[in-house]
Symmetry: C2
Subunit: 493 residues, 2 copies
């Protein structure tokens, strides 16, 4: 038979995997950033049928290099500028490894008290590092919890807000009548997804106007929509303000939005999935404006810009009662004396799934390894590099900077004199496709200000001056190539 | 400053962590199975404030032993018999480590094609290993996906079922009118949770009668409820049949339930979270009865009984259209040519969160290490040990076996002659509390057949004959102690 891996085998293969990972990060620049495979190519390299007999571990490591690596888009590559960074780090990887090695499941306090208590403490630490308001600390009515993603965070706070707005009726009887959510055109798509999931419906997501230049939500229009909907008999459930939107890192005016929410008695969720980490630096504490007075919940992703492997979204609520009220169910087989005592947190009641991994270990490991100093240095490096890039773009007459970067994201486009808007957008996308196909760097796009824009999100731990400088040169080169193609098929294709 | 961990540091600390894990598993029997800490004790051992400067890694490993380990309930201990097993294994830990080391995020095919294609292939492998129907394979209209938990699996299939039942209206316009779900009293609480989450409402979860002895769902009563609800204008959305319930591993009659579902045009989800893994053995293929003809979706957890670290739930659907129809949203910043081509799977459309880890690596690693043979051997060992325990209970006049174990779970209770039912239940719980407090083993309870029952779930990879034999001796000892206390305060307290 094919038996369990012995401790000695685990030591041997474990060292091989550790070395494989260290080697990978040492040679990561030798890979094309974005995978060059065609659909089906990876699958084509894998056996169609599972093995009847166990194969040992060497074959897996060989196939990892042979089949899997060509199909990897290297998120940790220093020239990965797409989406937002999904930071990883040595201490995070090892913290996660410890979690896997322990193999505990922290659904209840009782099923591993340390899994719950370390999470509570580390989220308090993080609240302190980011200077979040006292209400979000575990000693007050609120507290923090790790979710898998900002999508799940917004889903559970919508359920909490529904619970508060409806006095528990929606969870019991189902959604009855029109319930509404408030976002802007710049809000993350996870809000629309949550509207579908919760039975509120995408059509009941109200899109508040934004300032045409800053793309920030207009509190006056929010006020008007809330009044209109309430007058029409709808139940406004939640407003989602964003600090650092996905498209361009726009910042909604949270204090003013908060005033409107308070007036209308509506839950305010602040989504700072990407930008929230910047608040480790005092000079970025302005991102917290309005939280203390107004926010019912707040989320930021250490797995984006704080060196902690995905998945790790930090969600805080100012009052945990509506959240656990919405989600807690206690069947007989989960009853235990600690839960009955009311003295402990059972995080299963703060999330959709029942089971949960010991994710606090990796965040603990990251905070202890880097300290506040190291986390600040990481944010500042990304911001400095983004500002350097922005200055080069601003100084180049062939390019247009969309706006000064607030954080690590730079949005810009080549100027296409003589092309129509549509032709220019196609040419911009063509530049992006050529860059991504080259494997030298990887970036994505968005639409704002009437144009397709290139997005370069800087903030990977391996990204340094030379990478950004070289990336900018490559952007200029490929733009020149597309320009040479002129208005030919190359541009329009 | 406190800089990034260098590759050399990563190698050094990585080896330490690997050795720490190997040491842990070698000495795991020296720990009390269930943590003996009181609420707040772990937190009390942790600094109140985060460090200003980075601390290196040695302190973390020291605190792991000093503060965290006393707060761990050891799910991988051979004498952990609580809930269901949450299997871990060397190859799973190393596969997960590779995933952390790569640090890729597989929300789209394009963001790492291998992350998607390996998952599709490995789920096809698993479907073959379990002999699931062809419709669930990726080459047909359906396919498999890894979810974090069976809770999330049932949530997304309810959304798919709503989408199919309502022609897309619920996601667009919200839930309107009464929608109903069908479970039994034995169905997992995640169905009620999903009813709350989806806006269907817990009160619209219809509880179908069960057979008083087998606790299996009664298809005739299901038929009657469906007819009644339809006649009353409700929209029946989904029936959840369970193969291996959490309480006692009861098995619902899927073929008969499927006939009823087909007749009424209702989605059938089969939850085999625990027991599904048994189908790697031909002698357990009966657990798949009815799947081919009737099931719209099926879920089982390799993270329970198939040696793959949490989180890893395998969900299959017979038709992926309603699922992606319910969950797909495409904002500009996620557009890409591969998605537009329609030639690829984007798994973000099969789940609640947007982002996703490369979880297929650990399942791939497990299947290759063990092979079909090794996976079968693991299941058979658990079943054999459970049957041994059941035979000792059956032969002991002081105990009552609830029923012959179907899989690895044994439910039983001490006989308490001379005590009322309530007193007997209290005494049974007292036996459990004494056992758990001793640290020698950890088990949980349920209620069935009018009594509190002890549940001993066997199936951890480290559990062998000597553990089960010793555990049984400890059960007898503590039962004797409680008996000696007679009808004194000790029993009633």
């Amino acid at each position: 038979m094919s038996g369990h891996m012995t401790p000695e085998e685990f030591r041997r293969y474990g060292r091989q995997v550790i070395d494989w990972i260290a080697d990978y990060h040492e040679k990561i620049e030798s890979y094309p950033v974005s995978s060059q495979v065609r659909p089906g190519e990876v699958a084509g390299g894998l056996p169609v049928h599972p093995p009847e007999r166990g194969e040992g571990f060497d074959g897996l490591l060989a196939d990892l290099d042979r089949v899997i690596m060509p199909g990897i888009t290297h998120w940790q590559h220093p020239d990965f500028y797409a989406y937002f960074p999904s930071n990883s780090s040595g201490p995070a990887i090892l913290g996660d490894l410890l979690s896997a090695g322990l193999g505990v499941q922290g659904m209840l306090w009782a099923t591993s008290p340390a899994c719950t208590e370390l999470e509570t403490r580390v989220l308090d630490w993080l609240a302190e590092l980011l200077d979040l308001p006292p209400a979000f600390r575990s000693g007050a009515a609120g507290g923090g919890v790790i979710q898998d993603s900002a999508s799940s965070a917004c889903l559970v706070v919508i359920l909490a807000a529904l619970h508060r707005a409806g006095g528990g009726a929606p969870a019991r009887d189902g959604i009855a009548g029109r319930h509404t959510l408030y976002v802007s055109s710049q809000t993350h798509s996870s809000l629309e997804k949550a509207a579908r999931v919760t039975g509120i419906g995408a059509a009941n997501v109200r899109v508040v106007d934004v300032d045409p230049v800053t793309l920030a939500m207009d509190p006056r229009h929010l006020d008007a929509l809330l009044a209109e909907d309430r007058a029409a008999g709808a139940v406004p459930v939640l407003v989602c303000a964003t600090v650092g939107t996905t498209s361009t890192t726009a910042v909604d005016p949270v204090p003013e939005i908060g005033d409107v929410c308070r007036e209308h008695g509506v839950w305010l969720h602040v989504d700072a999935a990407y930008a929230g980490s910047a608040a480790v630096c005092p000079e970025f504490r302005w991102v917290n404006a309005g939280l203390a007075d107004h926010a019912d919940s707040y989320a930021t992703n250490p797995h984006k810009w704080m060196l902690t492997n995905f998945d790790c979204t930090a969600l805080w609520v100012a009052d945990r009662e509506p959240l656990t009220g919405a989600l807690s169910i206690l069947p007989e087989y989960l009853r235990n004396s600690a839960t009955s005592s009311g003295d402990v947190i059972d995080y299963r009641d703060w999330q959709i799934p029942l089971g949960r991994r010991f994710r606090a270990l990796k965040l603990w490991s990251v905070i202890r390894w880097y300290g506040a100093e190291g986390l600040r240095e990481h944010v500042r490096t990304g911001v400095r590099l983004a500002r350097d890039l922005a200055s080069w773009i601003r100084d180049d007459p062939d390019f247009e900077l969309f706006e000064e970067p607030r954080f690590g994201l730079v949005c810009f486009r080549p100027r296409w004199d003589g092309l129509t808007g549509e032709e220019g957008d196609a040419a911009t996308l063509r530049v992006m496709e050529r860059l991504n196909a080259s494997g030298d760097l990887y970036l994505t796009h968005t639409r704002a200000g009437g144009h397709v824009l290139l997005r370069m999100a800087i903030g990977g731990p391996a990204t340094g001056d030379r990478h950004v400088r070289a990336a900018w040169e490559r952007v200029r080169e490929e733009t020149g190539q597309v320009r040479l193609g002129g208005r030919a098929a190359d541009v329009r294709g």
